[in-house]
Amino acid sequence: MSDRVPRGQLFRKYVAVFFILVGGLLAVSSLVHIYFSYQEAKSALVRIAREKAAAAATHIEQFVREIERQVRGVTQAASADPATAAPGGKVLGFRGTLAAALAEQRELDYLRLLRNVPAVTDISHLDVSGKEQLRVSRFDLNEIGRQEDFSQAPKFLEAKSGKTFFSPVYFRNESEPYMTIAVPEGEYAVEVTAAEVNLKSIWDVISRIKVGGGGYAYVVDARGQLIAHPDISLVLQKRDLSALPQVRAARTMRPGSAGDEELATIAPGLQGGQALAAHAAIAPLGWLVFVEQPLTEAFAPLRASILRSVVILMLGLGLSVAASVILARRMVTPIRILQAGAARIGTGALDERIEVRTGDELEALANQFNSMAAQLQESYANLENKVE
C-alpha cells in the first residue's frame, strides 16, 4: 500500500499552500500598491498638465488683449490729440476742416498701428451710422470715404454697445486664420474701430510654450479648427480637429459645470502616439488651449517606481518559495521518519524506536508507536515464555 502513495505528494501540497498564502498576499498587495501609485501619479500629472494649459491660455489671451489694447490706444489718440484740434495755423470754424484734420490724424494713427503691430493687416473706422469712412491696409489700397454699410454687421453692433467684439476665426488666402477685433471709439461709444488680425502671429507665443521635452501646446477655435500650433504647417492646412476625442470632450464640457470631471485625457496625440492632453478655455474668445505630452515622457518618473515595485515583488516571491520549501520540509521530514519507523515495526522489528523531537503531536504519535512496539515486544516475550 505505502509504495503506491507518491512520495512527494504531501511535500508539494505544503509548498503550494505556503506559497499561495505568502506569495499571493505579497503579489496582491504589490499590485494594489502599483495601481494606486499609478492613479496618484496620474492625477498629479493631470494637475500639472492642467496648470500648464491654464498658463498657456493666459499667455495667448494676453497676446490678443495686447492687440486689443493697441487698437483701443489708436482710437483714443484719434479723438484726443491736441494736434487735431488746432491743425497747423489753419482757420478753424469750418466743420469740414476739423473733420478733414481728424480724418488725417486718424489715418496717421492707423499707419503707426500697422507699423507697431505686425499682426494687424487692416484697420477701419466706422462712423455713427455704421458706414466705413477709412480703411488702412497692409495689402490693399487704403480707402477713404468708401461708405460701405456695416450697420447690421456684428462687429459694429457689438462694439457700439460698448464691448470689444471678437469675431469667429475666418480664413484668408485659403489657409491663414484671421479674426476681427472691433472696439468702441471715444467716451460715448458712437463710432467703431475694427481691426483684422492675422492669427499666424500667435505662432511666436505658442512655439515658446514648453511642455516637458516633447510636449507642445495648440489652440482650437469654437468650431474645433486648429488656429495655432508650433508647427505652422498644420495650421495652414486648416486642420479640423473637432473629431479628436480630447477636443470633443473639451467642447462638450461647459465651463463651470466641469466640477470634478476628468480634466485631462489620454488620447491619440496630434503628432502620433498616445499623449496626455489637458485643456483650458479662453472664455472671451471661445477658444480652447490644449497641452499635450507624449505618454512615455509624461509617465517616465512613474516607470522607475513601478520597476522598483516589480523587482521587490520578484524578490519577495523568491523568498516566499524558499520559505515554503523549508517550512514544508520541516513538516514532512518527521512524518517520513514516522512512516519509515512504522513500516519497520510492521515487518517485525519490534525493538525499533522512532526518534522524532518536534515537541508536538508528531512526537506524541511517535511515542505512541514506540510504546505500541514496546507493548507488542512485551506480549511476544510473555507468549514465548508461556509456550516454553
Binding site: I34, Y35, Y38, E107, L108, L111, R112, L114, R115, P118, S137, R138, F139, D140, L141, N142, N173, E174, S175, E176, K200, D231, I232, S233, L236, Q237, K238, I266, Q274, L295, T296, F299, L302, R303, I306, L307, V310
Partner: protein, 321 residues
C-alpha cells in the same frame, strides 16, 4: 480604466530604439538654384541662418551645392539638370524662373521655393493649403502688393503721372500683375506703362525713353538684372522708383515695400528642415512671407528732391540715411 493596463504594459516594455539612435548619417545635400550673381544671395544666407537655428550645421548635418546663373534665363535649366545629377536631397530655389526650371527637371526631389510672387498664377502649385506634387515654399506676395507699391510711390511723390512698369517678358505672373497694376493705377490716377522686355537690348531701349518727372516700378524678378538697371536710371534721371524689397533701398533705391529676402530664406528653412525629416511637400502648405516692410532711403529722397510725408515716416519700418 482599461487603458491603465495598456499604460502599465507600455511602461514595463523596453523603450523602443528610435531612428535617432542610429549611427551618425551622412549630411543632407541641399541644392540651391537661383539667378543671382553670387553664391551668397540673401535668401541663401537666410536659409543657412535658419537651418543653423534649427540645429542643422553646415558641413556636419547639411552641405550646400549652390548654382547661380547670373540673371541668364537660358542657363537655368542646365543648372537644374546638373543639380539632379549631383544627387541632392532637396532643391532650394529663389524666384520663378529657377523654381520653374527645377520643377521641369524633377517630379521626385522636393523643391522649396522663395521669392515667388504668386505661386498659383505662375503655375507652380495649384493650391496653397495643399500644394500638389513635390513643391512648397514661401510666397513673397508680390502680385498682391503691386497696388500698395504704386500707392506708396504716389504718396511719396504726389506729383508723378507716368509710371514705367518694366518686367521680364518671360515671367509667367506678369498677366496677373499687370491687371492688378492697371486697376490700381487708374484708381490712383496714375498713367501706367507696362513694358515687357525679353533681352538686354530691349531693356536699354525702354530705359532711354524715360523722361524727368516719370516714375519707375521695379519688378521682383531679377532676370536680365532689371531692378538694378531701374535703380541706376532712377538715380541718374532723378526719377522716383519703388522696389519690392529693402535690399534695393540699401543700394540707394528710394522706397521699397515687401518682404525681406533674408527673412524669406529663414522662413523657408523651416520647410527645408521638415522636408529633410521626410515630410512630403504635399503636406506643407505654401506660406505667405511673414513680415512686410516699408523701407525709405532719406538720402535718395533728398537727392531726388522728394519731401518724405508724415504718412510714410510714421509707417516706415526702416530708414536709410
Amino acid at each position: 480604466m482599461s487603458y491603465v493596463w495598456v499604460v502599465l504594459v507600455a511602461l514595463l516594455g523596453v523603450a523602443p530604439f528610435t531612428a535617432e539612435a542610429q549611427e551618425a548619417r551622412r549630411p543632407h545635400r541641399i541644392g540651391v538654384l537661383n539667378e543671382a550673381w553670387a553664391a551668397n544671395h540673401p535668401t541663401v544666407e537666410g536659409l543657412k541662418e535658419g537651418l543653423r537655428d534649427l540645429g542643422l550645421e553646415e558641413g556636419r548635418e547639411v552641405t550646400f551645392d549652390i548654382r547661380f546663373t547670373e540673371g541668364k534665363p537660358e542657363a537655368t535649366p542646365a543648372a537644374a539638370a546638373a543639380l539632379m545629377k549631383a544627387g541632392v536631397d532637396v532643391i532650394f530655389t529663389s524666384q520663378e524662373a529657377a523654381t520653374q526650371a527645377a520643377k521641369d527637371a524633377t517630379q521626385k526631389i522636393p523643391i522649396v521655393f522663395t521669392l515667388v510672387g504668386d505661386p498659383i498664377a505662375a503655375g507652380i502649385v495649384r493650391q496653397l493649403a495643399r500644394p500638389e506634387g513635390n513643391l512648397t515654399g514661401v510666397s513673397s506676395l508680390s502680385t498682391r502688393l503691386v497696388p500698395k507699391r504704386l500707392e506708396i510711390l504716389k504718396t511719396l511723390a504726389p506729383g508723378i503721372r507716368r509710371v514705367w512698369f518694366i518686367y521680364y517678358a518671360g515671367d509667367s505672373t506678369t498677366m496677373a500683375m499687370t491687371v492688378r497694376a492697371l486697376e490700381a493705377a487708374s484708381r490712383l490716377k496714375l498713367d501706367l506703362l507696362p513694358k515687357g522686355v525679353a533681352t538686354s537690348e530691349e531693356l536699354a531701349r525702354v530705359l532711354q525713353q524715360i523722361r524727368r518727372g516719370d516714375a519707375l516700378f521695379a519688378p521682383e524678378v531679377s532676370t536680365l538684372d532689371i531692378p538694378a538697371a531701374i535703380l541706376e536710371v532712377s538715380l541718374l534721371s532723378r526719377s522716383p522708383a519703388v522696389f519690392p524689397s529693402a535690399l534695393w533701398v540699401g543700394h540707394g533705391g528710394l522706397v521699397s515695400y515687401g518682404p525681406d529676402y533674408r527673412a524669406q530664406g529663414v522662413q523657408a528653412a523651416r520647410l527645408v528642415e521638415k522636408v529633410l525629416r521626410g515630410i512630403r511637400p504635399h503636406d506643407l502648405p505654401v506660406e505667405g512671407a511673414d513680415k512686410i516692410d516699408l523701407a525709405v532711403n532719406l538720402k535718395t529722397a533728398a537727392l531726388l528732391g522728394v519731401a518724405v510725408p508724415r504718412k510714410i515716416l510714421l509707417r516706415a519700418d526702416t530708414f536709410r540715411r
